[in-house]
């Protein structure tokens, strides 16, 4: 399951995390049902590092983020932060943990209180945690606004007066207020225009360098994740199918799903788009309510064989950072010349 248990300066360690929703009976039905949103996920993040969690909708990436931030209680598994188990903390320790971990949500329109001035919104966490008051808090707010590139005049204004990108800056300033060590970014730029996305991506990178922040960056946009992350974990239907450092994972994806995911990203170079270099896999993402047996990807996998239908491949550790959950990755890598996704396309 897990790549390596030895926590070399790892800040966050997640072991065999499971989150199942709606365990119970349907009305008039004897069978129990549940959505296994996260089904045995393990990873670690080192201090000062960005781990990108990617996958398509319903793969459980946001649920992982929420479980890590203790916004929902996992069904089973362990989450430890700085060597300390965070599930089942007492309230005093949990308070301390909440300072160390902050979250930035996707939609800056709904994550800010529309009736709270920006100054008050950023000041709130400082007051709640008893960090600063009065003049001192004002000074902190100014400093935070400056850190995210907003003018001091923002203090007196309301969220509706700001554009989406500016609101996301405010949300980041709020998250920074408690000087956290880990920030969970859940699709922080998906609601923004491309030109503004780049501003936020650059801001996050800059803040990481200056403050030695650690990020869990959750997104569906592969190009952005690749750009911002040191390491990437690819999820499919509640499981991690591949992990690796961004460069290697993108250059040489081993899992057929990772290959398909990277192949499907449209390129801005129209020649690449038309040259047939654009591999398309068939089929739909199965419902997480009723995932296929064995390897979850076998229904869409061009390499699937009998064993894939009933045996679930474990995440095999190839090196410290690299892992892949596929029965046939070695063969697939050896035969990359005969990639069935591409050959099929050429034939049609």
């Amino acid at each position: 399951m897990t790549a390596s248990k030895t926590a070399d300066n790892s800040l966050l360690q997640v072991d065999n995390l499971k989150v199942h929703f709606g365990q119970g009976r349907r009305l008039f039905s004897r069978s129990r049902w549940s959505v296994r949103a996260v089904d045995g996920v393990s990873f670690q993040i080192r201090e000062g590092e960005t781990l990108g969690l990617v996958g398509e909708s319903g793969c459980g990436k946001s649920t992982v983020g929420r479980a890590v931030a203790q916004l929902l209680t996992p069904t089973s598994g362990m989450i430890s932060f700085d060597g300390e188990d965070v599930t089942g903390m007492d309230s005093a320790r949990e308070r301390r943990f909440r300072r160390d971990l902050q979250i930035v949500f996707q939609d800056p329109y709904s994550s800010l209180d529309p009736r709270m001035r920006i100054g008050a919104a950023i000041r709130e966490p400082l007051i709640i945690h008893g960090i600063a008051r009065g003049r001192e808090a004002d000074a902190r707010v100014t400093e935070l606004l400056d850190a995210v590139g907003l003018p001091v005049s923002a203090v007196e204004r309301y969220p509706h007066e700001f554009s989406g990108g500016q609101r996301q800056r405010i949300a980041i300033a709020r998250a920074l207020a408690l000087e956290p060590r880990l920030i969970v970014c859940d699709e922080p730029i998906s609601a923004l225009d491309v030109s503004v996305q780049a501003q936020i991506v650059n801001l996050l990178g800059e803040l990481q360098k200056r403050r030695r922040l650690t990020f869990l960056f959750i997104a569906h946009d592969l190009a952005v994740v690749r750009h911002i992350s040191h390491r990437i974990a690819v999820m499919y239907l509640g499981r991690i199918v591949e992990t690796g450092d961004s460069e290697t994972l993108c250059r040489e994806p081993l899992h057929p799903y990772t290959k398909a995911l990277f192949g499907a990203v449209p390129r801005t170079d129209p020649r690449a788009a038309r040259s047939g270099d654009w591999s398309v896999i068939e089929g739909e993402i199965p419902s997480p309510l009723n995932p296929p047996n064995g390897c979850h990807f076998h229904t869409r996998c061009p390499f699937a064989r009998e064993v894939c239908r009933h045996s679930d491949p474990p995440l095999e550790a190839l090196s410290k950072d690299r892992g892949v959950a596929c029965h046939f990755w070695r063969e697939i890598r050896a035969n990359t010349g005969a990639d069935p996704i591409k050959t099929k396309k050429a034939a049609t």
Partner: protein, 339 residues
């Protein structure tokens, strides 16, 4: 710059011709100028992509062609002609004949575009009856044919499904089947893949490319994503602040962009195979709302190459060797100020 011409060259084989299209919205005592003097031609069988960020007016152009704008919208001083007939001058009855049969539209969100209480089959029957006058068995056979065409497996059984029983990608396939049911000459797809996952997006784009060839349709693809537009379009129009700032072939626009906004947009987007160590070139600021008809370049406040003239006078879209750009920096301003 001697060969510069003020508008896109008129093509004899032109299917759709849009000239100086302007749309403004009146709401709450305010007027927003969403589209300002957009002109382009679409040849038979050609696919063009309109790309821009939110508020650039790209969807408004699509809806104005279809005459589907809200009553608060005002279209002014312009022509939209389909094979020589002016769509803006048509009465509502004649326009209804054009919609679906000659121009069809695919929306972003297939869940809201489909009626939740009707089955796929009922949607198909309605469209086929209205467009082709087909009923009963003939309509059934054609429905199965159309669902087959858009790559839906076991179409007979899918006809009795309700929209909520289908996945997002499947719903978009149904929408496309409905759109092509009237054999339109032009398919307008407004952000058709934005609500879909990336592997499904690739499937839908491939489907559109195949249908274009098989059914000999022209396509207008509206998207915020340069990559999506690149994959399907022969020509790309880049919009900013309600005006077309660049209009050229996909290769010219995406590989050799001339307008500073187009270059900035390309540099702001990380490429999946790009260099990770180069920071993204963010465009400072954000696009504003146009409450006045533009009197200067609307990108000027964010433009890294802004000159004095840019904030004083509106640059026209000038074509040099078929590559149109609306920029003073590109066209040159020496004594050439447009009165």
């Amino acid at each position: 710059m001697a060969e510069s011409v003020p508008v896109a060259p008129q093509d004899a084989a032109s299917l759709l011709s849009v000239r100086d299209l302007s749309v403004c919205f009146h709401a709450k005592g305010e007027t927003v100028h969403a589209v300002n003097g957009v002109s382009f031609d679409l040849a038979r069988g050609e696919a063009i992509g309109i790309v821009g960020e939110s508020g650039s007016g790209k969807s408004t152009v699509a809806l104005a062609i279809m005459q589907l704008l809200a009553p608060a919208a005002e279209i002014s001083g312009s022509h939209v002609t389909l094979e020589g007939r002016d769509l803006l001058a048509m009465n509502p009855r004649a326009m209804r004949q054009v919609r679906g049969r000659e121009i069809a539209l695919v929306f972003q969100d297939p869940m809201t575009a489909l009626n939740p209480v009707l089955t796929v089959g009922q949607h198909m029957q309605e469209a086929l009856y209205l467009h082709e006058g087909l009923k009963g068995q003939a309509a059934f056979i054609r429905s199965v044919e159309l669902l087959n065409l858009v790559g839906i497996a076991a179409p007979e059984s899918r006809l009795s499904a309700y929209p909520h029983q289908l996945s997002g990608g499947m719903r978009q396939r149904v929408m496309i089947a409905l759109a092509v049911s009237g054999n339109p000459k032009l398919l307008i797809a407004d952000e058709p893949t934005t609500a879909l996952d990336v592997t499904i997006q690739a499937q839908i784009l491939q489907l559109l490319a195949r249908l274009r060839d098989e059914l000999d349709m022209s396509i207008i693809l509206v998207s915020h994503d340069l990559g999506v537009v690149a994959s399907l379009s022969d020509r790309v129009l880049v919009m900013y602040g309600g005006t077309v700032v660049e209009d050229a072939t996909a290769e010219q626009v995406l590989l050799y962009p001339k307008h500073p906004y187009t270059s900035a947009l390309i540099a702001a987007r990380p490429e999946i195979d790009g260099d990770r160590d180069v920071p993204l070139r963010a465009i400072p600021g954000a696009a504003g709302r146009q409450c006045e008809p533009p009197s200067s370049c609307s990108f000027a406040p964010r433009c890294p190459e802004c000159m004095d003239v840019c904030s004083q006078s509106l640059p026209p879209l000038l074509f040099v060797n078929g590559h149109g750009t609306a920029c003073w920096k590109v066209s040159g301003i020496d004594g050439e100020r447009i009165p």
